[in-house]
Structures are given as structure tokens and as C-alpha cells.
Symmetry: C2
Subunit: 316 residues, 2 copies
């Protein structure tokens, strides 16, 4: 087996992914557990790391460990400060937080990125994916717009190899809350037709996107129609969550294209989970915007690049 | 004690209010239980009625019983059809649903009101409050705009004594979901500074209203700022829910004033729970709209008027 050079941890709110990386950032092995910072196993952060990567550490003493994501938040292992914009690979590498994770094992954490101003914004974890993506596709570095969907969808602007802007939409969390807890989700819950998280977007989804696209005052006044269209027989209960998803994604895209000149000028590249990216790609197409989906795995590449830049990687 | 003429039931999702009415609709007695249609006591609807009003029925055999609200929904005791617009007192009285509630005791249920079209809307219970309000303040009947805040806020248009239009905003439900379940409510939850349901609106609330008022694309893109303003020290955790409340009410009011010519032309009268009405009144004032708050208890008056019109009340 090739020599291990780095343990890279993509440690978010709901999951922990560990990568064993070799020369050039090649993925030698990877593991996944649902041990996000809010659902840690018995023993907390240290136990999670020991159980997921203890054998890697034992096999290669002194192997550096670098993590990104919510592990560096106030609710995480220790809080890592946010880097200001513009934030490039060098800036992130210069601001790593170090703590002793296990006896004799230092852990470095990548800072998040913040945008200041009247309406500040922040991200943790996505900045590392951006760095990985720019390393894989250097042509993007001059200027690009990235759309990173998820619980919190991030629209990220890149110029000159640095993150220059950022806007968060709570679309994913809002969808989950409304589907699971609100009156809007009741027909689908009663019909036991909850939409699978990897469901393909369909005609009801497109109908929702179309409604949100033309409703320039915002989608809040449209939400109750998810219920009334079902009540009046104009929407099947089984289709109602696709429609709701379309309303919310359509509203996000309408706002982002309108508010963010960068996003409108440069079609966004989608970075994230495949089924969710496809959903956004379809919605963007209804706005006349053609987008592409980035290859998966940018986080591990980004962690490799930042570790290299920070001087964490020493020749064996 | 004056003769009882009607048992009036205001039966919603989360509570049941029973009124014993005498001549002219005078309230002889009233009772309240948290027996909304989704939290009925053992024995269901019949048991709730028997326990709350059984002694009234026993004391005056043949006493008519009229109910309004979600008791007439698909999740209620039996589904009462919606009356179309324009809907006045006569139209509602002509479409009562009748069922045998207890052995030998008929129960009548007021229909809800629906608005047809591309984006249909509905209400149940509020139509009866409107009828009661118009009876108490006849000057409003020619033309008025009513704002009925609650879990689902209703903006109701009245012309010529009839309900002619209706638009629902899910503001209250959305606030509760975000405060209780989302990441936005976490700082306040951790600071154990949840906002009391009858809290007075404060400066943080007004700040939220001001942000939503000027953000014409809608409040969805503003939601995450509830978190980032706290993270960056620009908003105290203890103030964050007031700010969120302001964002949501401000967005509702901005949309309603913009979308609904009637609401903009005639300052709305507020009908509902006092603390919530005061919150809306303050937010409306930030839009330069002065509003007044209707006296409480319109539901009982409305049930009396509809019962009278329907011929349910016979001279003793």
C-alpha cells in the first residue's frame, strides 16, 4: 500500500467523513459515520476520531490530521475563527486552529469564511470544497459562481482564486421543517408519500418553480397554496412535497439571480450531493440558466491542498 | 338567570370555547378547554361537547347548538363544504351542516369560506368572527379590510356586507417552527430566553420589520441573518426571536400591502388575540399604516347572528 500522508476529515453537523490520503492527495481509503457534531458517539469528538481513524494513526505515527466543517464551530470541538474575504488557499492555510485531539496527536482545523457588513454571512466546510474544486478545475479560479445546495444552500463568488462573496439560503432546512412538522406536509404524511431525499424532480416540482419564479414579492405568500391546491383538488397529495420543494428552490434562485450580479453574469457550477444538484440544475433551467455539476469529492482535495500549503505534509 | 337561547361553539385546532347565549346574544356563561380538534379528550368530539356543555343541554332541552371553525374541516367532526365568495351572513346561514352530536341533540356547523382561482384560499372560523364584527360595527360593512393574525394570518376583504377576498400567510406557524426547531432558534433556546407568546414588541422586533420592509424580493434570503447577526455580535441571543418575528411580520405586511389593493387603500382593522394584534399594529405603523384593534369576542356574536338568520332560534 502506498505511504499515507494525511488524514483528512470532513466533519459536519450530521456526518463525519474520514479520508486517508497518499501522495498527491490520492484517496487510499475513506470511511463514513453519522457522527456529526450534534450526534457524536459515546466519548465525544475524541472517541469518534479514535474509532474512525485510530488504526490509521497507529499504522503511521506522526500522520498529520486536518479537519474542516462544523467541527470548528462554537458547537464543535473548538471554535476556529472565521477568515475574512477575500479568502484564498493561503489565507485559510495561515489561520489553522491546532488542538491536541488524542494524546500526542495534534488536529488542525480549517477556519470558516465570513462576509462582513449589514447582513453578514458565514460558512464552514464549503470553503474547503471550493479550494478543492479550484485545484481540480484551475480555469474556474479567475471567476466563477458556485451553488452549494444542502441544509443551508450557499451561493459563493470566486474571483482571482479567492472566495469574495457568500450568501446563505435556508431552503433545505425550511423544506424539512415544513414537510415534517407543518400543516403543509400533512397530506403527504397521511398518504405516506413523503418524498425520498433522492427523488427526481418532476412536473409538480416544475410547477412550484414556475410559481415562485414569477412571484417577485417572495414565496412566503405562496406557501399556503400547497395546502389549498390539495384541498381544492388541483394538486394530488402525493405531489404536494415536490410542489413545495419547487416553490422554495424557485424562490431561492429568483432571489439569488436578482440580488447577486455575479450569480446572474456567470452561470453557477453546482457542488454537492448528486440528487440535490440535479434538482437545482432543473430549476435553474426554468430560469433559462444552464449549469453544470462538479465532480464529487472536492472536500478531500481541498484538505490536501490546504495541508500542503500550511506545511503540514513532510516527506516521509 | 335569563333564558338560554343558544350554545355557541368556537372550535378550532387547538382550543374549544363554548358560550351560553341568551336574548340578543348576551353571553350568560363561557367555558374554555384546550380540546382543539387535534387534541380531543378521551371519547372524541361527543365527549368534549358533553363534558363542556352537557349541563347546559340538560338544563334547557332542545337548546340549539351552532359551531364554527376547524370542527367543520376534513380533520374535524364532519366536513362542511366551503361557501364561495362573496359570502355574507345569509349565504353562511343557508349552508349549515347538520349532524347528530349527542343522542337527540343536533349540531349545526358554519361552512368555511373559499376563494377560487389559480391560487385558491380558505378559512374556517374567521368568517364567523367577520359576521360578528360587522354586526357590532355596521359602519364597516360597506367596505373594510381585516387582518386576523394567528397561526395562519388571514387578510380579509369585505364589501357590501360580504366577504369578497381572502389571503392566508403562514407567519405564525413559520415563526413557531423556526423558533422551536431550526438553527435560528438555538441561541435563544440555549440562553433560555424564548420569547413569551404575549411579549411586547421591542426594538429588535422593529429592526426585523425594518429589514423586511425594504427587502422587496422577500424575506427568505434574510432568514439566515438571524444567526449571523448573533454570531458576529450584532444582535443579542436574547433579542434574536424578536428580530425573527419582525422579519416575518414585516414580510407578510409588505407582501399584503403590495399585492392587495384593498388592503393598501383601507387601513386594516385587527381582529384577534390582544398581544398579537398589538405586534401587528406596531409593525403596520412602521409601514406608515395606522390600524385599530377590534374588541374581543366577535365569534360568539357571529354565531348568534348566523343562528338567528338560519332560523335556529325559536322563542321559548
Amino acid at each position: 500500500m502506498p505511504a499515507a500522508r494525511l488524514i483528512a476529515l470532513d466533519w459536519g453537523t450530521s456526518s463525519l467523513r474520514a479520508y486517508l490520503l497518499g501522495d498527491g492527495g490520492a484517496v487510499l481509503a475513506s470511511r463514513h459515520q453519522p457522527w456529526g457534531i450534534l450526534q457524536l458517539p459515546e466519548g465525544g469528538f475524541a472517541a469518534a476520531l479514535q474509532r474512525l481513524a485510530g488504526d490509521w494513526l497507529a499504522a503511521t505515527p506522526g500522520l498529520p490530521v486536518l479537519a474542516s466543517g462544523m467541527v470548528g464551530s462554537a458547537q464543535g470541538w473548538r471554535e476556529a475563527a472565521y477568515a475574512g474575504c477575500p479568502a484564498d488557499e493561503s489565507a485559510l492555510a495561515a489561520q489553522l486552529l491546532q488542538l491536541e485531539a488524542l494524546p500526542g496527536v495534534p488536529l488542525h482545523i480549517v477556519p470558516g469564511v465570513r462576509v462582513d457588513g449589514e447582513r453578514p454571512d458565514v460558512m464552514r466546510g464549503e470553503e474547503t470544497q471550493v479550494i478543492g474544486l479550484l485545484s481540480r478545475q484551475p480555469a474556474l479560479a479567475a471567476r466563477c459562481s458556485l451553488l452549494m445546495p444542502g441544509t443551508h444552500s450557499k451561493w459563493v463568488q470566486v474571483q482571482g482564486g479567492a472566495i469574495t462573496g457568500l450568501h446563505t439560503y435556508m431552503t433545505g432546512e425550511l423544506y424539512a421543517l415544513l414537510a415534517q412538522h407543518s400543516i403543509l406536509g400533512r397530506p403527504a404524511r397521511e398518504a405516506a408519500s413523503a418524498m425520498a431525499s433522492d427523488a427526481a424532480p418532476d412536473a409538480a416540482f416544475e410547477r412550484g418553480v414556475a410559481a415562485a419564479r414569477t412571484h417577485v414579492a417572495g414565496a412566503m405568500p405562496l406557501l399556503f397554496s400547497v395546502r389549498t391546491l390539495v384541498l381544492t383538488g388541483q394538486l394530488a397529495a402525493a405531489d404536494s412535497l415536490q410542489y413545495l420543494s419547487g416553490l422554495l428552490l424557485g424562490d431561492e434562485i429568483r432571489c439569488a439571480l436578482q440580488a447577486d450580479a455575479g450569480a446572474a453574469a456567470v452561470p453557477p457550477m453546482l457542488v454537492g450531493e448528486a440528487a440535490l444538484c440535479e434538482r437545482y440544475r432543473r430549476a435553474l433551467a426554468q430560469f433559462g440558466v444552464s449549469s453544470s455539476v462538479a465532480e464529487a469529492g472536492a472536500a478531500a482535495t481541498g484538505l490536501w491542498c490546504i495541508a500542503l500549503r500550511a506545511g503540514l505534509l513532510r516527506t516521509a
